[in-house]
């Protein structure tokens, strides 16, 4: 869940890049890290095996836009794609705010894509969550490979739930589609945040005590003192 810190005037979100092994999750983060301005990024940390396969997670902290005086911060994680690391994927998904599902466009990876997407839903369910609650986008990566499935087939396989989501074609090695994907999930998270805070204020206004002794007044007083 996103956290609003009134002391630092920051809102933080956790985004997890999910998908089958070798689909390009780490490559997405590496490209983002190479292109974001120095002042807006932290170090890209990879907990990988000797063969450069993700063992636990990759992590990249980013600063984004300032909205109404509040800095937005996004913490990007990847999960290990290999089937045997499911326990690790469950840990990385804890407190997730948004998901980028990276699919491998190659024909021979379709089964792995579907299994990984199912695995994502199962792991969310273990936390009492589902894809109707969590903003997510799809990225069909490796479009530069010779044996790719058509986009409409990937849509049929992976974007076939009641709620169709944004999907992007990508070639993460060259950066194609990487920032479009990141901006889309970030915008979805901010929109959800705006919706939830509006609902929260409306609810609060209906239930506020006439004495005015409320959390809202406490927050406002705190801000005024700064």
């Amino acid at each position: 869940m996103s956290i609003i810190n009134y002391a630092n005037k920051e809102i933080q979100f956790k985004v997890v890049y999910y998908g089958p092994a070798l689909c390009g999750k780490t490559t997405n983060l590496a490209h983002i890290h190479s292109r974001v301005e120095e002042k807006n990024k932290g170090e890209l940390v990879s907990l990988a095996t000797a063969a450069d396969r993700t063992l636990f997670f990759d992590f990249l902290p980013l600063n984004a836009v300032v909205i109404k005086g509040f800095k937005t911060k996004f913490q990007l994680y990847t999960v290990p794609g290999q089937v045997i690391y499911n326990a690790t994927r469950q840990l990385v998904l804890r407190s997730v705010d948004g998901i980028v599902f990276v699919a491998d466009s190659q024909w021979d990876k379709m089964e792995e894509n579907v299994e990984s997407f199912k695995n994502l839903q199962d792991n969310l369910a273990r936390q009492g969550l589902n894809l109707d609650q969590i903003p997510y986008v799809l990225q069909y990566n490796k479009r530069d490979m010779p044996n790719v499935a058509p986009v409409h087939y990937l849509e049929y396989l992976l974007n076939n739930r009641g709620r169709r989501v944004n999907s992007f074609v990508g070639v993460a090695t060259s950066g194609q589609g990487v920032f479009a994907t990141l901006n889309a999930i970030s915008k979805l998270l901010l929109q959800k945040f705006a919706r939830e805070t509006e609902e929260s204020v409306n609810k609060h206004q209906k239930t506020a005590a006439p004495t005015g002794s409320t959390a809202l007044s406490g927050i406002a007083a705190g801000i005024a003192r700064r």
């Binding site: 869940m1 609003i4 809102i11 292109r35 901010l190 805070t197 609060h204």
Partner: protein, 157 residues
């Protein structure tokens, strides 16, 4: 228990005071309160080698979650603390509740016994502050759709 959506200025001050008091008494060099997703709620002191607190937080959350899971799988009912002994810097990660942990970094100027003793007291103090925060209905800042749409590219290359 749910995670904390909103940290008010008052609660942030109280958390910071508890960390200041903890470092003062335990003589540890750095302490941070993080959620299970690795997001920092409060921090105080200095990390060795100018380490990035965000990375320390992410790794601590992951490490503690993995150790706790490991403990459960070998029949332990719970895992409340994790200690990493180094040559110069030591790390103690202590569970505050299901969602929050306290991470303490300390060196040769103190002992693990002293840090554990005061961390136990600090954990209770932090827990009480967070409990109070959770029980109060807080209202977040309002962003409108227009505010978000105005930010065309949230990340620019």
């Amino acid at each position: 228990m749910t995670t904390l959506p909103i940290l008010t200025i008052q609660a942030a001050e109280r958390l910071l005071n508890s960390l200041e008091d903890f470092l003062d008494k335990s003589e540890a060099s750095y302490a941070m309160i993080i959620d299970r997703g690795g997001i920092i709620l409060s921090q105080h002191g200095e990390l060795p080698d100018n380490a990035d607190p965000n990375i320390v937080a992410a790794l601590s959350a992951g490490s503690f979650a993995a150790t706790r899971e490991l403990a459960l799988r070998v029949g332990e009912a719970d895992c409340s603390a994790l200690y990493q002994q180094g040559a110069h810097s030591h790390i103690l990660v202590t569970a505050v509740d299901d969602d929050i942990v306290l991470v303490t970094v300390f060196g040769k100027q103190t002992t693990v016994g002293l840090v554990k003793f005061y961390s136990a007291k600090t954990v209770k103090r932090i827990s009480a502050i967070l409990q109070e925060l959770r029980q109060t209905q807080h209202v977040g800042v309002l962003f409108t759709k227009e505010d978000i749409n105005a930010a065309e590219n949230i990340f620019a290359q």
